[in-house]
Symmetry: D2
Subunit: 342 residues, 4 copies
């Protein structure tokens, strides 16, 4: 186990701390006994709040972490012999230690994408022979908003994917670990981005946006989520003292903290981009649309930087680093990082 | 969803709040960025602390909840075609929505036990034909300390189970969701109760003893835990901001808070027992050795009490209620409950 | 690996050979190319034949073996978080190496039964709290006809189980590895025993009744089997040259060979019972209603017999041997066996 | 269900019948009782015969079908959190309805390959970060010999893959559904192709080479197969009357029938290739090295041919047909097919 002594503020948005207002809410929630496993008043309030935020009658289930949210969402969408189409770069495909396959027995069908975004035209070749028992049957499309490469789907692009999905009897799942960054960056609302485009289910991120722990599975398609509570328990995602997740979400939605946190992170990413673009030896690889900046740099520079700074090399062969900003990133930190990029 | 408006202090130790010192520790842990997924300094410190508490070179992995701890522990103990012997009343058998079967594909072999405790003589009939491929092969024995019925295994009883397990190539797992209550109630230490008796792996409870969330899988048998980190991730039990679980455990071990919390709960259970025993219409069913009291009462009384108080009926047919005390139970609450038992 | 040199004709009905007429059918089926995976003419004919035999519009899927049939049937009946109620002695619980748990992730809820038969009154205590996510949800009842102990359910008993199942939203599955013996022994038909009693799905045995290999999953409840073909492939039970299973079933149904084979085996069991009952040192344990005889005998006698004869000791502690007759058992073999029982 | 009335001799080698000598062997094996589940004398003889054929102390387990063989082999190679590297065109990836994921919970890592063959250079990029719990850990490489595209690995190519596998702690599995065609086509032996190249485990095909049903999992690496018998039972691949699979393999190895059958099929493929190459409107796509011919043809021609002939379109977009020859393909059939290709 290697602990990290270096400055690490651009490594990941889950290296960040808990937002002070979230912590405050935890303290406030901490009095007396409350019914366990989500049958408490704060949870009732928090799930109701989700309906307001989505401006729709959504069904919301709190879980511990993002992989848990994704697996439950996909579990609701798939049959035992199901397959899920996703970008090859998807978190579910690359960074969850095979949890979807392990938990659900399903197959992922990864598709190479230029900028982390799946297009309808890439889906249809996989929808031949849907009734042949020799192949796993595609049951869902899963996309990340924002994508793993920091890019955004437009509302129209999401609607188009939902349309092709529904035409063929598939569901559309959105891994929204950074959905707040996406909404903040687009000139839109959750309703317009996800409800009106006919997304079926979303993994709604909390931890990367200032929470201590906790995510939500939000069903926009009411028929999907009916038995998810059993799968949540069985998949070990049912918190006994759930009020403490609920309290965090309530605080996150108070005064639009969720959007403020995300907007700040996005702004810092743009600023970082601008600063990096001044360097001749660096190259921004993907459009910077949310809170991630992917930058190609000389191998030796990566090595030198890592002596002092902690960040992830996304592509070892192409020498591409991933830099993430978060709700607590400061301009000084960006300045410090860029100043080292010589 | 039914929220609970009644007084509910004896319903469960996971209805309790978070101990103030735990909450304080969360606040203190909340500054700056820290490496995610357990590669932070607090986690290094907390896992080292477990070695001190156990007075042994244990390997510790933090997880979100008790079912997660149990499943990971059993996963380390079992082969794909494995079976686990456990009391029929075991939490893994009754209260985890089939998570062990679902997650691991293993088979539980439940054994009827008079007071929730498994004896070596009950094990051996299941160890015939261990090499026959027609039957799931027993790979582990799993017991709960304290048991689901609030009783305790003596050190000798645990050692005897470990011996029969190891003689036949099985491992011994202890579901220690209430291990603190067990240690506090016995005149012993973790080392004497678990290490010197040759237990292989323990699910070490935090949430029911005053934490907000978080449990630990503690491997006493070093060869067992080597690949558990992959299973933790795959089973969706890997917290990104793990420092906040670690901080809680560190606080729990500070000034023996874990034992103080548990001892208080135990004391309240004894007091409750004494008070209930004064009532002619009630009958204590199992020895009160930790923080649970099982009491048989007239069906009508259960009905009347539930108008005002929230607690679980353990056995609907025998009219047995389970009453749990916790670190924050007060004598007044006990008095109030018993006063209603007329 | 221990090969068997002893006489073994009462060991099991799957020690028996292939009936000559079945072998003949295999030879006849063996000309030219035929479409694989069940899309051939013989398979179409054989599945249609099942409708005739059941006098009902059943849906039939051929598989390789009995465990395969049981798992597919249960897979159709259960959700991911499902449980199946069955006698503790059920083949699915005891003799399939945990295949249902492994394949489906479900939980079996074994119930102790006096003579291998489940009664409605034993079911209902398990149907509390069906909506609680803490427990696996019962989705099906599974019984064996004939039972693992050689006893038979009456038509009324089956209908009663189906009724309690359906009242609570469960399905009723019949493991019919020896369904032919059951029909032959009862004064009834498949229609009366299974269709009119509202059984949902049956594992229809072939191998133990004279086939070389091959069983069938027969859905009486049409809505259940719709996607089973995917599960059959995924569970590795889809034969490429399926015509050779189909040909066997067609031969088995020709001139009522299936009933003749079974009736002979049943008759031999009755004869064996009569012979054994003449011995003072032996005790028949269960009613002999199909083709199994369970006999308690002195431990030393078991030991002596096994020097020369091969059979299974069902209960090592009670010294109970299981003797199975089959389509090719001869009175001489019974006589020989009993003559040794001194 | 669509049965096939057209001529279909080039559709697949599993559309073929059973070789007469195999059928004869089934008849000979059919006398008296024999111990079930592989503990019979024929099975002992057949598994010993595999050692002779491989000229090595291999461990052999008979199963029902090819997917069963592949899944058991991969199950022996992988941990619960394991991944298997394979060509994107691999049967395990494309044509087994997700059985490996479903049965084992593992992840397949498909790699695009020009001619169905995996090269060491394609493996190494996937072997970074083997100790990171965020990714499924590669445990095995799986290749098909002959490949799904009818091409062959040279002995040197197999040895090179085994070397890269073993250097990184992975195993090498060979899907040998058509291993006989491969050995017959190469100037080599099983020993030289698989044992001396250090392959760990092979799925040894029987059905596509003239058997009625039955395949074998052959462990060349002795340490791998030790517990496979449990997985075979659990995965529903354990035949009760196993002697009938064993008898087929014994017949297949008699007088080198396995190689004769395969050599004939290979010869017919070469002949077909020659005939097709005379047509200007057709294009052979991959080297014809075993018993498959992939031919690109005008879309209209595919349509016309399918009026009368049954064969599979491999690539709907590229208009590529797959034509398979088998042990019973005749020159007349080839002539007939090609005569229609105008």
């Amino acid at each position: 186990m290697i602990t990290c002594r270096n400055r690490q503020t651009l490594a990941s948005d889950n290296f960040a701390s808990t937002h002070p207002k979230i912590l405050e809410a935890l303290t406030e929630a901490n009095h007396g006994h409350a019914r366990a496993y989500g049958y408490d008043e704060l949870t009732a309030k928090a799930t109701a709040r989700f309906c307001e935020i989505f401006e729709s009658e959504v069904q919301t289930y709190f879980v511990f972490n993002g992989t848990g949210a994704n697996v439950l969402a996909l579990g609701a969408c798939t049959k035992r012999f199901g397959a899920v189409l996703c970008p090859a770069s998807a978190h579910i495909n690359v960074d969850e230690c095979g949890a979807p396959e392990w938990q659900l027995g399903i197959k992922l069908l990864p598709i190479a994408t230029p900028e982390g975004k799946l297009l309808p035209a890439q889906i249809t070749p996989h929808l031949h022979a849907m009734d042949s028992e020799h192949h796993s049957r595609p049951c869902a499309i899963s996309i990340s908003q924002s994508s793993e490469l920091g890019t955004l789907y437009s509302t129209g692009e999401i609607a188009a994917l939902a349309e092709v999905a529904h035409q063929h009897g598939l569901y559309l799942h959105v891994d929204g670990a950074r959905i707040a960054n996406s909404v903040a960056a687009s000139n839109t609302s959750l309703k317009k981005m996800l409800v009106e485009t006919h997304v079926d289910v979303i993994s709604f991120g909390g931890t990367k946006n200032g929470m201590m722990y906790g995510e939500a599975v939000v069903f926009l398609n009411k028929s999907l989520g009916q038995e998810i509570k059993f799968m949540r328990k069985q998949s070990m995602q049912l918190a006994s003292k759930m009020r403490f997740i609920s309290a965090q979400f309530l605080a996150l939605f108070e005064d639009e903290l969720w959007l403020k946190n995300a907007a700040h992170a996005n702004k810092m990413a743009k600023l970082l981009q601008q600063k990096l673009e001044t360097r001749q030896n660096l190259k921004i690889i993907y459009p910077v649309e949310a809170n991630a900046v992917f930058v190609q740099m000389p191998k030796t520079l990566i090595h030198t930087l890592k002596q002092e700074l902690f960040f992830w090399t996304w592509d070892e062969e192409q020498n591409i680093a991933r830099l993430m900003t978060s709700f607590d990133t400061t301009p000084e930190e960006l300045h410090h990082f860029v100043s080292k990029c010589e």
